[in-house]
């Protein structure tokens, strides 16, 4: 135990001071030490998704079950422009992010009218509504079959040509956007706005008494969170070159919530760790049995009962002791 602590402490100290840089550095090294590159891309993108979710759940203290709508909205927004209208990928990516932000704005306007635990139920129901909307718009989204042909095979950057069919190149291509998003999240959390968010989580009434516009702040944070999740979704559309209707489903919202809680909500590194462990478990267990949801469900229950701070949160708390 003691040796472990001495091994961990400098790492933890470094991560504690510069979480954004540390996460970026880790993600940059990750595919070099991890042999499964397509899984690495999944972890990267779902880590970003979970980091966006964490803005709502971890930092604002709102339990949402509707983030699939942002992830899927971003994916469809980007995918439809690329596959149906042959629009250049940077524009499509931007459109996906904006669309996710709009969905978040609409959802927030409705859901913010309720308080407390209602939020989870309303976001879930509204996300289901978005699911049906995309499901019914068959000609545009491909309905049940999903959207196909979101092909971005090469990216031309002046003299530099990136071959996205190479998983390692694709990973670093995605990492650029993920790094920008991480930097932005870090910037937001360290700003006055970030302090207000945490103030809301800790004590809404006191924050209100201090003259903070509670509803406006929450709405803005949900929109930012939605846009980050939308970016993750849009990148995932390019990654898979298809968008499945499942990306909008209840299970996607549940997955990202489990990842965030698994890693540690309200921590910077937690979501990425959670995404890694969750997808790692899924990867290993699906090879053995079809019943991986059972394993994940049991792990999740144990986590809620005994380690509500998640893996990274528990580690941080131990370290601070």
């Amino acid at each position: 135990m003691k040796t472990k602590n001495t091994f961990q402490s400098p790492v933890l100290a470094f991560l504690g001071k510069q979480p954004a840089l540390a996460v970026m550095a880790l993600l940059a090294v990750f595919p070099l030490i991890f042999p499964f590159h397509s899984l690495a891309i999944n972890i990267l993108l779902f880590g970003l998704f979970a980091a966006g979710y964490n803005l709502t759940f971890g930092y604002t203290g709102k339990l949402s079950f509707g983030h699939a709508a942002f992830f899927g909205g971003g994916a469809y927004g980007c995918g439809i422009l690329i596959s149906q209208y042959a629009i250049a990928w940077p524009l499509a990516l931007g459109f996906g992010v904006v669309l996710a932000g709009l969905i978040a704005l609409l959802m927030g306007l409705l859901a913010m009218r309720t308080r407390g635990i209602y939020f989870a139920m309303v976001t879930l129901a509204l996300a289901q509504c978005v699911y049906f909307l995309f499901f019914q718009a068959n000609s545009l989204t491909g309905g049940d079959n999903g959207l196909r042909g979101v092909n971005v095979n090469t990216v031309n950057l002046g003299p530099l040509k990136l071959d996205l069919l190479n998983p390692l190149v694709k990973y670093y291509f995605m990492l650029v956007f993920v790094a920008i998003a991480i930097w932005l999240i870090n910037r937001i959390l360290n700003s006055a706005f970030g302090s207000i968010l945490e103030a809301l989580r800790e004590n809404e009434h006191r924050a209100r008494a201090c003259g903070i516009n509670v509803e406006g702040t929450r709405l803005l944070s949900l929109v930012i969170s939605g846009m980050v999740c939308g970016l993750a979704g849009a990148l995932n559309a390019i990654n898979l070159s298809t968008v499945s209707i499942d990306s909008l489903s209840y299970h996607t919202s549940g997955q990202v919530m489990m990842m965030t809680l698994l890693g540690g909500m309200g921590t910077f590194f937690g979501p990425f760790l959670g995404a890694g462990i969750f997808l790692g478990i899924e990867h290993v267990v699906t090879g053995i049995t079809e019943r991986w949801q059972l394993i994940v469900g049991v792990i999740f229950i144990i986590l809620v009962l005994f380690f509500p701070k998640g893996i990274w949160g528990t580690a941080l708390a131990r370290y601070k002791k």
Binding site: L110, R113, I117, V122, F132, L294, F300, V304
Partner: protein, 329 residues
């Protein structure tokens, strides 16, 4: 008579070989409109009763969810899973006994017992830890219950038919109507009446109502609150299980059947008001009727209609039709 015949004949002869339709057409049109009007009155009345039958399932699910929330302040994300378990217990008991009526008794008892076990072992350690934790726990539990069901009964759905005595249709004055749907409405009314008697007329019900107002005072008065909570969790999940059995002939039985009903139950809770039993009943019936009528006129919008209803409720009455303010802080 004679005159029309001749005139019609004249009409025909005046247009040999051509289509004479102007007049015939008008008669024809008149007739369809008449029969359509007649049909449409019956159709609307029938659709209303269909909506009430559909709503009965919603009411049962919503009441169970609201009961548990109102007393324990737990949002039970496994409520849909208990609904699904109820249907599968029904399939199992029916296979063993071949008697639907035994299922009607066994399903709520067995599902309720599973619910009480869950409360005792998993949910109880979380009391006092914040409102999100039981929610998260039951969310994970729903996955476990779903996969356990898949392991026991297979991935494929199971057919489940209504008992023979309840098949077929009866004339209820607005045309023939499936007997089973009438049965649904009747059973729901009986259960709601029994629940009302239990909550309003028994000593235990008094404790339950007091506990919903202020559990602390109840504890100060020397009442063992945890027994009450255990029982209420059992009642709520038992009713969910029964709803699953009752819905099985209409919705089919599959491991995933709990997911849509969970979302529908949430819509009902939001529309009716959190923790309000009256609200759950009103909202359940309302949602049933709205969905049923949208299915009649714009079937492609049927799935949206309940969400639209929820959005309207949120805009104009954020606490729900009969919701209390400040229940969840």
């Amino acid at each position: 008579m004679q005159r029309t015949r001749t005139s019609r004949l004249a009409f025909f002869t005046a247009h040999p070989g051509g289509r004479p339709p102007v007049r015939l057409c008008r008669v024809y049109q008149q007739k369809t409109i008449d029969s359509y009007m007649e049909l449409s009155f019956n159709l609307i009345a029938q659709q209303l009763v269909t909506g009430l039958a559909l709503g009965s399932i919603y009411v049962l699910v919503g009441v169970g969810l609201s009961l548990v929330f109102g007393l324990l302040t737990i949002v039970n994300f496994a409520h849909g899973a208990f609904f699904m378990v109820g249907a599968y217990v029904g399939v199992f008991v029916f296979a063993k006994t071949g008697n639907f009526w035994i299922c009607m008794v066994a399903v709520p008892l067995i599902t309720g017992a599973i619910g009480m076990l869950v409360e005792r072992v998993l949910v109880r350690p979380l009391y006092g830890r914040g409102i999100d934790y039981p929610l998260l726990l039951t969310f994970g539990l729903a996955y476990v219950m779903m996969d356990l069901t898949r392991m026991a009964f297979g991935v494929q759905g199971e057919p489940f038919e209504a008992p023979e005595a309840l098949q077929g249709a009866v004339d209820i004055g607005i045309g023939m109507f499936p007997l089973y749907r009438l049965f649904l409405i009747a059973v729901t009314s009986v259960i709601l009446f029994a629940l009302w008697l239990f909550l309003e007329k028994t000593r235990f019900g008094l404790i339950v109502r007091a506990g919903a107002r202020d559990p602390l005072v109840l504890r100060v008065l020397g009442i063992n609150v945890s027994t009450v909570w255990l029982a209420i969790f059992g009642v709520g999940t038992g009713i969910a299980g029964l709803a699953g059995l009752l819905a099985a002939p209409m919705r089919g039985v599959s491991p995933e059947m709990g997911v849509p009903i969970l979302i529908e139950a949430f819509v009902i809770t939001v529309v009716g008001g959190m923790g309000s039993l009256g609200g759950a009943i009103a909202a359940g019936l309302l949602v049933g009727v709205v969905v049923s009528f949208t299915t009649l006129f714009r079937p492609e919008l049927a799935e949206f209609s309940m969400f639209a209803l929820m959005a309207i409720t949120l805009i104009f009455k954020p606490n729900g039709l009969l919701g209390r303010k400040g229940l969840m802080g």
